[in-house]
Structures are given as C-alpha cells and as structure tokens.
Symmetry: C2
Subunit: 301 residues, 2 copies
C-alpha cells in the first residue's frame, strides 16, 4: 500500500509533500517472466483504465520491467482507496505502491532515488509533469523536500509529533493538467521572495517544532490565487479551518481537496467538524479525513 | 559595534543573512536633548557624509529621535571598519550599530522588531529598498530569516558549530541600487521553484547540521546569473573556493564581495588561500576575511 499525500503545503509548490495515514491505495503484485505488464483488476474506482499504457501503476511497472530486462513482467491488482483527481496524490499513491512492491519483489535492487524516478513515470502519465512531491512522501512517509530534480535530491524533514492534518475532498474533480495550465509561467520576483520566505519559515518551523511559525508560513502567493476559484466553497473552508484553531490551511496539491494543519488531535477534530459544517452549509458533497503524518509511507500489508 | 553580514547566501535572496565576527563598524553615541542628530566624526572612510540626512546612521537615529519625541537627540561618532559598497552589509552594520546603541541608551524600550524597523531606515537611505536581511543578523548575530516584511517576522536559524565563512572583497564598488536594478522584475515559475527548493534545502541543512546539504543548496538561479558579470574574476574565485573544499560559494549580498561557506577552520584557511591566489593571479586588489558566524551581533564594547 501507499498513502495519500498533501503536496505543496501552500508555500512549497512542487517541492514539499506530506504523507497521510489514510486514505491509501493497495496493490497486489506478481513477478512474471512474460516481459509484459498485465493489470488483472482495478477495484474502488470505475474510471481507471486497465490498459497498462494508460494506467499509472502500469506505466511505473513498464519502466521497471524495461530497466530490469530479461523478460521481466508483472501482474498487478489495484485497489483504489483514493479518488482520482482529488488533489491528495491519488496517482502518486498508485505509482508509489507499484514501485515499492516491484522493488520488494526484486529484492530491493533499486535505491531510494531510483524508486522515486520510476514512480515519477506514473506522474508523467497522469499529469504530463513527472513531479516528485507526491510520490516521495507516498514512498517514504513523513514530510519530504525535493530540493532538486536534476540531480534528484530528496530530503526528509522533521515532523513535529503533535502535527495533524485535516483534508476535505469536495466531490468535484480537477485535473492536475488543468490546474497547472492556469498558473502564470512567470511570477514577480517580489512574489517569489514572499513565497520562499514562507517556505524557509515552514522548514524552520518543522525543525523548531514551532507550530505558530508553521501556521504563519502556510501561505501561498503563487498557486492559490489562481486555483482557489476552481474550488467551490474554498474561502469558506479556509475560514472555517482557521476559526476552529487550524495553524493554517490551503489547497492540497492542485485541488480540489483542501488541507488544514493542526496542533493536536482535539483541535484537529474541531477543525474537521468546522470544515465539514461549512461544506454542508454550501450543500457540497465531500469526503473528510483526519490523520497524523504517516511515518511509514509505502509498506507491505 | 555591529558586524559585517553576508546576505542572501545564494539561494535566500532578500530573506537570509549571516553575521560575521569581522570586520565591523563601531559607533560612540551620546543621548542629548537638542532634538537633533549630530555626526561628530566619521573615521575609516572618507566618502561617507557627515550630513545626518545623507548618513545611514543619521537616518536611523533621526527615526528613533522622532519616535521618542521630547526633544530627544543624538551625538554620534562613527568608525567604519567595513568599506561602503562591499556587499557585506556596510550600511547595515552602521544602521544596526546606531539602532542598537540608541536602544541601549534609551533603556531598551524598543523590541527586537522595532529595532530592526529603525535600522531598516538606514537601508532605505543607502539603497532605496528598506531590506532587513543585513540589519537583522548585524543586530542579533547568527543566521537569520526574514520570513515576512509585513508583518515583520524574524526567525533565528540554527548555526552548525563548524561553519566558517570566507569573504573576498575585490576593490571595486557596486552600488546596491545598481545591482538591484539589473535583476529581472519577473522570473520563470520553474526558476523560482528551483530557487526555493534550494532555500528549503539550506534551512534543512542548517538544522540537520548536514554540511553537504548546505553546500548543495548554495546555488543561485536568480541574482547570480545577472550579477556575476559585474564582478571581475567571479568565476575564478568561485572555482578556487570549490576546488579548495568549500561547501559552496556565491555573491555576498549584491556584491562585489564573494563568500564561501566551509566546514572547519582548516578547510576555510585553505579556501581563503585559494581564493586569494585567484585574485592575485588576476591582479585584482582585495581584502580577505575568515570568520566563524558571530553569535552576538551588535554589542557594547
């Protein structure tokens, strides 16, 4: 299995991701000598292709089979616990689960970075951009920084023990490719400075276990101003989270899910309720999750 | 006194600064009831105005006197140990020394943030931009993050104990206003992502005391490509630093000084020699400094 993930955390566009404990995707994988990737079944979601060339896990396994050679093949069964297009790393979790399981079957021949590279092939298929900010925490758990893509440089960050994450997934789908397309290709230097000041503050806050600093830093001057309009009820959700004591709140990945970081389970429960009430008041169907940060990431179950 | 500072550290444009132990500026300050700021003498530099309206320390003291009211005035003597236009926070040190000394004389009535705000008035005079990335470490020592300017939010970062800084100041002057003017007002989002990935890596490296990560993160995709051409011999200096074992190297502030971060005094000495040799080979006059990070910042001597 590999868990859902919240990428960006508002200020860390394309570089930061956080692993949840739930929801998660599960795969059952068999090593074959057919030289082919076969998708036996997909449960939990009826919109996902069983064509290995159009399936995220299929793309990952194809890349791995090609790298190993010797007629290596895979037979996979996928159980989707995370809805596609939710903004909490649905494709990333399937990609991470497939890459992790394949590496296990192959005796762990691939390094951490190689495994990420394979999982990124799933993201390439899903969104056109082989980003790593979801697959990395889905694979390794915790809160991770992708410092650099070339060369790939992944840094696990400190996770304050009382940190809790609330996620509200409104039942609308936003394609990552659409959410990426509406972003400005260039941003004012002054805006970039504000954004990286916050990202540096977030990283410092995680290490200092300074929850208020984490909260002050979870502000997005780059993507949220463009994407918030795609998410019905976003402003109300964010306000409800902050009113109930969340440290900060923003768009999870490219949306439509909205996350809130909280200190402690009690506050997180209140935030979950407040955000759920806001959704109900707007008459929008939604899923809701409250989770600590997963320390494990992908694992055998 | 208040020490020289290295701002930006390549990836942290306008938000990060590091305090050196030397060089430093010294001021002697007297509280008066004249309602005026008087500059009695400036030593160590003959290009600095004694007109309080055109002097960095004068601008700071004027702002403080106005804030206090009641005919508060100051008489100041300034000893410049840091050359103006060097890129190691010359104006910032004078501003910080004046703000610190005035606050001492006034019994410490001003908070940390208020003191920074007053010192920023000196930067406003010097460069037109009231930035805080030099005055903050000059005031408080260490490595500091200016997470946000509005509201002002200053975060002291962890300083790994073996960190050493080498600074080469070639004898040319670059006005901060000129160095700022040649920057692009807009930058590609992809470039911003690379920059903030590095800044997040630097902050994580400081907390993890991971010297290699610090070195990998000290890369500048925003200012250095524009400014390097202003600094004769920059490429050679940077190469020499890395060849001698520096973790990373780049432009200090807006230049022309070039800094290198090193692990341990022995490596730093080798880097100092290598960079000095590179300058001599180019026939460029220079000053050179090797310093741990100052933990004190501005203080009474």
């Amino acid at each position: 299995m590999a868990p859902a993930t919240v990428s960006n955390l508002s200020c860390g566009f394309d570089v930061i991701g956080l692993a949840l404990c739930e929801p998660f995707d599960t795969v059952e994988l068999e090593l074959t000598l057919t030289g082919r990737v076969e998708i036996m079944a997909v449960s939990g979601c009826n919109t996902i292709s069983r064509d290995p060339g159009k399936n995220v896990a299929g793309a990952v396994l194809k890349a791995i089979a090609d790298a190993v050679g010797n007629n290596t093949g895979f037979r996979i069964t996928i159980e989707k616990g995370i809805r596609p297009g939710s903004g909490i790393g649905s494709s990333g979790a399937s990609a991470a689960a497939a890459a992790f399981a394949a590496n296990q079957l192959l005796g762990g021949v691939f390094s951490m970075n190689e495994t990420v590279r394979f999982a990124m092939e799933g993201e390439r298929l899903a969104s056109g951009a082989p980003h790593a900010d979801n697959v990395t925490p889905a694979l390794f758990g915790g809160i991770t920084l992708v410092r650099s893509y070339e060369p790939l440089d992944i840094i696990p960050l400190n996770v304050p023990s009382e940190l809790r994450c609330v996620v509200i997934h409104p039942e609308t789908e936003i394609k990552t490719s659409v959410a990426r397309g509406i972003l400005d290709r260039e941003i004012p230097l002054a805006t970039a400075v504000r954004q990286w000041g916050n990202l540096a503050g977030l990283v410092a806050g995680l290490y200092r276990e300074d929850y208020d600093l984490i909260g002050r830093s979870i502000v997005d001057f780059v993507a949220e101003p463009r994407r918030a309009g795609l998410i019905r009820g976003f402003t109300g959700l964010r306000s409800a989270a902050l009113a109930c004591g969340a440290l900060g709140a923003g768009i999870s990945g490219s949306g439509p899910s909205v996350f809130a970081l909280c200190r402690g389970s009690e506050t997180a429960s209140a935030v979950l309720k407040g955000m759920s009430d806001a959704m109900q008041a707007e008459g929008i169907a939604f899923d809701a999750y409250l989770s600590p940060v997963s320390t494990a990431g992908a694992r055998l179950i």
